[in-house]
Assembly symmetry: C2
Homo-oligomer: 255 residues x 2
């Protein structure tokens, strides 16, 4: 398998886990950049690579430059770079591919669809990687790179990618918020989230082989007004009450 020389621009959760996975697949991480000195040092140490905190010192000899900085910094960083025909990619779900076109003739997106943290090692093999490129040759190289770390590769355009991101916000970010609300309600009643962890696990498990719409349970889908009213009376937090009403209405609307 082709090995690439890579510069990692960014040192957050995605850059960390992606860097570790690429290194493990024997690509060479030539350099790590972060504007924050401690982050740059931390990741450079993990990857045994040199680092810089200045965009002017980016190593110009790599094959691929991975922009894994905050969404609203991507275009700015790309504007600072002049990398001619080197491949430059960003890793964001929401940023248009064209926003980095200033820095090179060959650019694209390499969006790993998973929730990462710096400390928990990611199992990259199953992580879906969404690829987009401004030309065929670049796409081919991105496919080679992606296949070296994952078995789950998809060609996705910018419009689809932002919709994937929206879907992920509902199914993951919002879902986690509801876990947090459940935790809060239980704690207020001197109970532990442990009580409903088997239920949370089973709810996520069930949709592996079934359409979620068909798996819907609970008072709203049954049209059980009496239970919903009882719940609304018990919920003291105004925001939770509002959420309970709106989500229940949305479920009833699907009925």
């Amino acid at each position: 398998m082709q090995k690439y020389n890579i510069v990692l621009i960014g040192a957050g959760n995605v850059a960390t886990q992606l860097g570790l996975a690429l290194k493990k697949s024997n690509h060479r991480i030539l350099q790590v950049y972060s504007k924050h000195n401690p982050s740059a040092i931390e990741l450079a140490k993990k990857l045994k690579s040199p680092f810089t905190t200045s965009l002017d010192e980016i190593n110009p000899t790599a094959d691929i430059y991975i922009l894994s900085v905050k969404d609203d910094a991507i275009a700015n960083v790309a504007d600072h770079l002049r990398l001619k025909d080197k491949i430059v990619i960003h890793t964001s779900g929401s940023v248009d591919m064209e926003s980095i076109k200033a820095c090179s003739k060959n650019y694209g997106v390499f969006y790993p669809l998973q929730t990462f943290s710096k400390t928990k090692k990611a199992e990259f093999k199953k992580v879906p990687i969404c690829l987009e490129a401004n030309n065929k040759n670049t796409l081919k190289i991105l496919e080679t790179l992606a296949k070296s770390i994952s078995n789950n590769i998809h060609k996705i355009n910018s419009q689809q990618r932002i919709n994937i991101h929206i879907a992920a916000v509902f199914a993951c970010n919002f879902t986690n918020h509801f876990y947090a609300i459940a935790d809060d309600i239980l704690k207020s009643n001197k109970l532990s989230l442990d009580l409903i962890k088997p239920l949370i696990a089973e709810t996520a498990e069930k949709i592996k082989d079934n359409a979620p719409l068909k798996m819907q349970t609970g008072p709203a889908i049954r049209g059980d007004k009496k239970t919903m009213e009882k719940h609304l009376k018990m919920i003291t937090d105004k925001k939770y009450k509002q959420l309970y009403k709106l989500v229940s209405e949305s479920i009833e609307g699907n009925n």
Copy 2:
């Protein structure tokens, strides 16, 4: 371990899985009742028990009577029964224990905290069972019964139980609805829910060992207004737009 003679009143998802688990632990299911003939026959067949569709024909010789009918039917069914000092329990998350007090001197609640279906066999050993009883002796018998099918037993009062149910509605019913919304958004863009299934699994997995509040990711917790505005522009469905706004605000409020 003590074996009990049991009458199952109801033949839905909970009655089915509970009946199967109790039979497996060598309790005797003396009789199954359902007002719907086909349901009664179906469950009676699975449990190899006699059945009836008339409350007047309930076998009076059992030790324990399990009311596993719809929430709004529980009190009515209990009013029809006169079982003196037999133990009578219901299995609902939302119905007050006292609503069945008319039918016996010894009554209680046996609430298995899981999402059940008739066809998918439940792993009862880990299912939390919430117990409540109107006297100590009844509670002791319910504990013996619960321990025979699960390792996860909790003494829970009616006030706590309804709050557990509310927490479960947020963490499971509402969560599943958000999976359904994600599925819908992806399908509208010719994409499959499979793409974000690893992300859904990881989101549920992460909170096994971490407080959900600390695991929150996504544009709302980052205060990333630009991405949220972009998402809101892309979401065409009015209800989804409303949900996106309200849940994001709720996440920002926690920040």
